[in-house]
């Protein structure tokens, strides 16, 4: 209990920003995915830190539950994302998002 809440929040913010940078700057789709995972982790740190410092005293569990759901979503996202990446790799022999610009008309 000696670690203040804001420390966790700062670390989480830093982790989020690093993840964001990864998602913005990687060329490899898997690299982007990893950046997103980092961002999700930072969210979880926040959730649990809030739970520990605010919610425990109130006797509620929202932070933990949400963290679990975020982890679930992350698992789903990783599964589908990697499946997409492998599929793209198989069809186009690339996982470089620079080459994936079919959205452009």
């Amino acid at each position: 209990m000696q670690v203040p809440l804001s420390w966790y929040l700062i670390v989480a913010a830093a982790l989020f920003c690093i993840g964001l940078y990864g998602a913005l700057s990687r060329r490899n789709a898997i690299g982007i995915l990893m950046g997103v995972e980092l961002m999700l982790n930072s969210v979880n740190i926040n959730l649990l830190a809030f739970w520990r410092h605010i919610e425990v005293a109130r006797g509620t569990l929202t932070g933990q539950v949400f963290a679990i759901i975020v982890i679930t979503v992350a698992a789903a996202e990783a599964a589908v994302g990697l499946a997409l990446i492998i599929s793209a790799y198989r069809h186009r022999k690339t996982v470089d998002v620079e080459d994936m610009d079919l959205m452009k008309l």
């Binding site: 982790l15 690093i18 913005l24 700057s25 060329r27 995972e37 649990l48 933990q64 789903a76």
Partner: protein, 165 residues
């Protein structure tokens, strides 16, 4: 500065160094290993927050499943990893700028806010309570079920997408 603060700083360093490795390392495989390091550090933070269950789930799912899958995907697409492949796109400067400024703003906000923290000990049966809360009708059973449906859908979707034609 006491023991847990020291441990916190240590773990945070692990987390952030791992994260930096993830986004900066040129070798994607190593980046994935850094990702795992970061995940383990986060798990340690959870233990520090006395959320043992989440820490274990973090290990089991992030390290044991997601990171492994990522490593696997990297291995599958390994032909692309040549030394001359510069894994950094042309907008990385902008991205870096945004990330740094965002961190500055966030840190500013976080330090400004007076959080309504309250000291309390984690109850003995926290895990049992969590389990109850996830299946209790008036609490979180709906998100829980929706999450399970989501997982199911993702599973099926991943299988279909990744299947060879």
């Amino acid at each position: 500065m006491n023991v847990s603060q020291g441990v916190f700083i240590l773990l945070s360093a692990v987390v952030l160094i791992g994260a930096a490795g993830v986004v900066l390392h040129r070798n994607l495989f190593r980046a994935a290993l850094f990702l795992i390091l970061s995940f383990v550090g986060v798990s340690g933070l959870y233990i520090l927050l006395e959320a043992e269950l989440l820490a274990m789930v973090q290990l089991l799912l992030y390290v044991g499943a997601i990171a492994i899958l990522i490593v696997f995907a990297i291995m599958v697409s390994r032909q692309l990893m040549s030394p001359q492949f510069r894994d950094r796109n042309e907008q990385w400067v902008g991205g870096l700028l945004v990330a740094v400024v965002l961190f500055a703003v966030l840190a500013f906000i976080l330090l400004q806010v007076n959080w309504p923290t309250a000291e309390a000990a984690v109850p003995e049966d926290a895990i049992a309570q969590l389990g109850q809360a996830l299946v209790e009708g008036d609490q979180f059973v709906l998100p829980f079920e929706v999450a399970s449906v989501l997982l199911m859908v993702a599973l099926v979707g991943a299988v279909i997408i990744a299947r060879e034609k």
